[in-house]
């Protein structure tokens, strides 16, 4: 029960927290309207849904090795940051790949002859560069998420310790 709660809680906390902070950043610069207009509601919901789904899958496997809420000695900072970077990178690349597959599938359904363009060198180069970029961005976000998890784990430890002393 606790493991499932950990996955659902941390995956959603990371995705929603990141999303709201990005929105806040654009809003503070008064550029939110310009960013949201080309994305559109349906695409925005799809982006968020894919990111959320991929994050739940990667957290399910990632937190098996570094459970931030566990009390055992595996919850060391170096393990948590390592796992955060690795699973964050996989979340970024996984999200990019799901979106790429969805987009390219849509192209193929609309025009089957587009397969020639999809298999061309420029498209494959874009996929390669996109994968590398999403790995780096995801890894960086994973490090921030790991710092957040470490802080949360320590706060939970302190609260539980103070409650047990009473």
């Amino acid at each position: 029960m606790a493991d499932r709660l950990t996955v659902a809680g941390f995956a959603t906390a990371h995705v929603t927290g990141l999303t709201v902070l990005v929105l806040l950043g654009f809003h503070l610069r008064s550029t939110l309207g310009g960013i949201l207009e080309p994305i559109g509601t349906v695409t925005g919901v799809l982006l968020f849904g894919v990111l959320w789904g991929v994050a739940i899958v990667t957290h399910h496997y990632g937190f098996g090795a570094s459970e931030p809420w566990s009390v055992d000695d595996r919850r060391t900072a170096i393990r948590l940051f390592g796992a955060g970077f690795a699973w964050g990178a996989l979340t970024g690349a996984g999200t990019f790949w799901v979106l790429a597959i969805l987009g390219l599938s849509g192209l193929l359904v609309a025009d089957p002859s587009a397969i020639v363009d999809i298999l061309s060198f420029p498209t494959l180069l874009i996929v390669l560069l996109g994968t590398a970029l999403s790995l780096v961005i995801g890894g960086a976000v994973g490090l921030v998420a790991a710092a957040f998890d470490l802080g949360v784990g320590d706060v939970v430890d302190r609260i539980r310790a103070s409650r047990s002393r009473k």
Partner: protein
Amino acid sequence: MPSTEFVLPVQAAALAVRWIHFIALAAILGGALAVALPDRPSLTLARRYEFLFWVAIGLVVVSGIGNVGRLAPNVPAFESRWGRLFALKLIAVVGLIAVSTVRSGIVARTGNDGDVDRRWYLLTAGWVAALAAIAVVMARG
């Protein structure tokens, strides 16, 4: 000029997004009170609430983006009154997520014979009520 057939689904979708936002917030608020108010808060209910909370907060965020997206590209600037309230609301949502991660952590690590601290759920309910108040002020312009 968009056709009537296109405009109606867009309006229906916008209404659905608003209802999802409202119902998800109501579920977070009502669920927190349901855990907090009984004489002896139930751990089983608290664990179920934590799952409900994380699903609901995801829906709140995605439907919130949909609501703001409808205003694009004319989202009021941060310097306006609406803009400052919106920034305050976003910061409050980040705070709610952070507090809820700690609350979920405590529940996840509470043994089956452990007690639920109702103050976390009262805090959550109060926080969501404050968020709703900000939303009402924003809606009034």
